[in-house]
Amino acid sequence: MEIAIPLANELEVRISEAFCIFDIHGDKYIDTRNVGNVLRFLGCVPTEKEVNQVIAATESAENPGETHLQKFMAHLSPLLMDRKMEPASAEQILAAFEVLDPENKRFLTKEYFGKLMKEEGEQFNDDEMKAMWRVAIDPITENVPYVFYINQLKHKTTIYDVAEVLKEELASNDKEKKKERNPMP
């Protein structure tokens, strides 16, 4: 709030808005533990590994444990323009669930799904598990009707479109510059 960082384009405005929610003091620093939240709120769907990569790339050298907006924007903008960490379609998530449901019962048991989330892949901790059950479980059958669950997880993302627009703008600017430097005879 007090320290103004110039925002060059719409993409940076969006990133900055999501970032600054976690900026408690208005000094454009956030706790690195919130980087994942910022990415996800913007609309990206990174794996934990990808989040850690972003943290490592953007963590402040002068203030470890903190991330500064400038560095974050500089690192993230090209990633967004490259469509990294982009959300997949609903069909792809459905396909993932179907891998887990070979008998095609259209639901998973709480036991199986719980164990999988807790023990495999990028495991959920206790808090994440508890919070997940609120979304995932059908209280009547006590199973995970994953088609319904998928509908709870879908959210519209526009950040990649914004990134695309910027990418095109930059590309056409480059073309203009090239033309200026090498004018056609």
Partner: protein
């Protein structure tokens, strides 16, 4: 078969989950949550069938039930990947990661909503504090530019700052219900029990004003004997309890006393300031704390906070509370309260090792200097301590400010606290130097609301403790108190008061309440800039279509309010019913004009209201402007002051308006303004401002009605922010002990 199904047995602790990252997107979330939470205690019935809470009602559900009863689904509860081929296992893991990352994004959105609400509350609160702090800076500047104000030997001094309350003034009888108890000095435990019993009730909880006066007067008398910093020791008690901000939350104070016991030689307490303002029971909290101090003088240590200050109380509700409760005696009571404030010590030192102050410290804080100050000079911390021409020790004034208003920050360095407008932000390096210089182990402070009631910073050297639960809204945060053992190792007890009221609600409802409360506060704050907003919106809408782009809308909002909020996230709340391409700003303005927001605004106090209500501040301004102490100010003297006033309170009055005001003030037309004319002018201009507003409202109400989505939102806000008073039941709390950090 079903007997061996692990998932249906009594798993988990069956305890209700404490508030953390939660979700509310499902339309059946309340049902899901309720059943989901109780699911862990689902048991097997005697016939081996699982007992569920509700019978399967839909045919789909019952066919699924049959499905898993029939087929051998139990194999799924063996370790998921055992017995699979390598590629299949790989695929499964990849699927798991895929699902996990999707789920985490969903959770992040919920976390975001929570943060957003929190940020609204905090930024609006601090922006208001900034206004108050502006007053402090204004005074500073005024004094700097008018050094003659500090001359000794003035005549006809009208300042009332140094005069204590008259002892012979009569008390008037109040109308309405009054508690029938009788109190007398010395205050003892039995009186405390009586008082708690009275204050607990939602009706008939007022003491007779004579007892209020008695407690206030006696407390001020005793506090005056105390040094600037309490010296607290655990030598006898082997432990000590520290409480942070209470802000008029009597229910929280009663929870603490209930869970932790009344003070005694073996159970000492330190209360770290901010007893009043914002909450509705500030007077009861203050009286109870002072009574506890009088009853157990060696076991209760009260530190002054930045809200123990009549200038703050004028803005943040305590003065209104006292006016409302004792309409015929409030002036007398408030002046007695001022006496208590000025004699409240400024902090405590525990076992010579731990400093306990309300805000924090700066790189120039000097405890020896603080110990030597004549603290009685500072009736209000925001107003310069001009007393009969004594020289103003600005450095001294700054010292007090810093310990009352500062906040810790994560990054290094020490810089002025721009968020609050006063005090500093101090970094870990400042902490280290400060502790070393004063040979201390760590610092305990309050001043900032934390979701869990407490927070460690600076490598555990700075601990924040905040004791007002549900501070911003029901369900917004927990409160906590700290207990230190003889080695001064802390643990915390977190709680929410009136817990049953929150537990009855689903997560979605709770979120809704906090969100509505946040919106209401934000909308009230936005009203202060309503005309400016309208003008700026129209600037970007040349066709007068009523719509502008999202980016422009966000830009205007931030440019005018300067609140640093995520406007894009708030768009669909503040301009309800608009689509994703543009924003119908008329709806934003309409929202500000709805009854619920206008009523909330009337309930609060603006800067100018507060300024006027604080006569002493106006007098001080007058006395400073009156550079030659003639008892009157000339246009010349006033013009100098206007420049400063306009610089500090932009948007309130322009220079021409102020000059005009001065001419208007000269009621008897002799070219000069005396104190009475000065005060009268403020009252009149305040009156005319209110009349203008009413006129404006009358005009608007004859225009078109607001859109349906705005009306709907206003109704929701109104419903969700309705507060119902109950008797206080301190046992109705959800307390949890939290161990120390290693």
């Amino acid at each position: 078969m079903l007997r061996s199904c692990v998932c249906l047995q009594n798993g988990g602790s069956g305890k209700r989950r404490s508030s953390s990252v939660e979700d509310a997107s499902s339309c059946r979330s309340s049902e899901i949550e309720r059943v989901g939470a109780s699911m862990q205690t689902t048991t097997l019935g005697s016939n081996g069938q699982p007992q569920t809470l509700t019978p399967p009602t839909s045919t789909r559900a019952s066919s699924l039930l049959q499905l898993f009863q029939r087929k051998g689904w139990c194999k799924h509860f063996r370790k998921p990947l055992r017995g699979m081929s390598a590629t299949r296992a790989e695929k499964t893991i990849r699927a798991a990661i895929f699902i996990q990352k999707w789920y985490r994004r969903h959770q992040a959105r919920q976390e975001m909503r929570k943060r957003c609400n929190w940020q609204i509350f905090q930024n609006v609160e601090y922006a208001c504090e900034q206004d108050q702090a502006e007053l402090y800076k204004f005074f500073n500047d005024l004094i700097k530019h008018m050094p003659q104000a500090i001359e000794a030997g003035n005549k006809g001094q009208t300042s009332k700052q140094s005069i204590g309350p008259e002892k012979s003034a009569t008390l008037y009888e109040e109308t309405g219900e009054m508690a029938r108890i009788q109190l007398e000095l010395p205050i003892q435990k039995k009186h405390i029990d009586l008082m708690i019993d009275v204050f607990r009730k939602k009706r008939g909880n007022r003491l007779h004003p004579k007892y209020v006066c008695m407690i206030l007067r006696e407390a001020a008398k005793c506090l005056k004997q105390m040094p600037n910093l309490w010296m607290v020791s655990t030598a006898v008690s082997q432990q000590v309890t520290i409480c942070g901000d209470l802000h008029g939350k009597l229910d929280d104070l009663l929870v603490v006393l209930y869970k932790n016991g009344l003070p005694s030689a073996s159970n000492p307490y330190v209360f770290n300031g901010d007893f009043v303002d914002r909450g509705k029971r500030g007077l009861e909290v203050l009286l109870l704390l002072l009574s506890l101090y009088l009853a157990f003088p060696n076991a209760v240590f009260l530190n002054r906070g930045n809200h123990e200050d009549s200038v703050m109380n004028a803005r943040y509700g305590f003065i209104r509370e006292v006016e409302g409760k004792y309409p015929r005696n409030h002036k007398r009571l408030l002046s007695l309260i001022d006496e208590v404030y000025r004699w409240l010590p400024l902090g405590s030192i525990l076992n010579n090792r731990v400093l306990i102050v309300h805000g924090g410290f700066s790189d120039t804080t000097n405890l020896d200097l603080i110990k030597s100050i004549d603290r009685g000079k500072y009736v209000s911390i925001l107003r310069p301590p001009l007393m009969d021409g004594e020289a103003l020790e600005k450095a001294e004034w700054q010292q007090i400010f810093d310990i009352m208003w500062s906040d810790p920050q994560a990054s290094q360095g020490c810089k002025p606290n721009a968020l609050r407008g006063a005090g500093v932000w101090f970094g870990p390096d400042t902490t280290e130097l400060f502790l070393k210089r004063h040979r201390l182990s760590y610092v305990i402070r309050s001043h900032e609301c934390k979701p869990n009631g407490h927070e460690f910073m600076h490598d555990n050297k700075v601990i924040t403790i905040f004791s007002a639960s549900n501070y911003y809204a029901m369900g917004s945060n927990k409160g906590a108190y700290m207990r230190l053992n003889n080695q001064l190792v802390p643990h915390f007890v977190q709680y929410i008061s009136a817990a049953s009221q929150t537990k009855e609600l689903s997560f979605k409802q709770r979120m809704g309440i906090v969100e509505c409360a946040a919106l209401k506060e934000l909308a009230v704050r936005m009203r202060e800039h309503r005309d400016e907003l309208e003008a700026d919106f129209k600037k970007y809408d040349p066709d007068d279509s009523g719509c502008i782009t999202i980016s422009k809308w966000c830009f205007v909002m931030e440019n005018v309010t300067k609140l640093g909020l995520p406007w894009r996230l708030l768009r669909d709340k503040l301009a309800p019913g608009t689509d994703s391409q543009c924003v119908n700003y008329v709806r934003t303005l309409d929202l500000l004009d709805t009854d619920v927001i206008m009523e909330a605004e009337a309930d609060g106090t603006s800067v100018m209201d507060a300024l006027y209500a604080n006569k002493a501040s106006l007098e001080t301004i007058f006395n400073i402007i009156d550079a030659d102490h003639s008892g009157e100010i000339t246009l010349d003297e006033f013009e100098k002051a206007i420049d400063l006033l306009v610089a500090h309170m932009p948007g309130v009055y322009s220079k021409d308006e102020m000059l005009e005001k001065c001419r208007m003030m000269d009621l008897n037309g002799d070219g000069k303004v005396d104190l009475n004319e000065f005060l009268e002018a403020f009252r009149l201009s305040d009156l005319s401002r209110k009349e203008q507003q009413e006129e404006y409202l009358r005009k608007r109400s004859t225009c078109q009605r607001p859109s349906e989505s705005v009306t709907r939102l206003a109704d929701t806000i109104s419903r969700n922010t309705l507060v119902v008073e109950h008797d206080i039941d301190p046992t109705d709390c959800e307390a949890k002990v939290v161990g120390q950090k290693s």
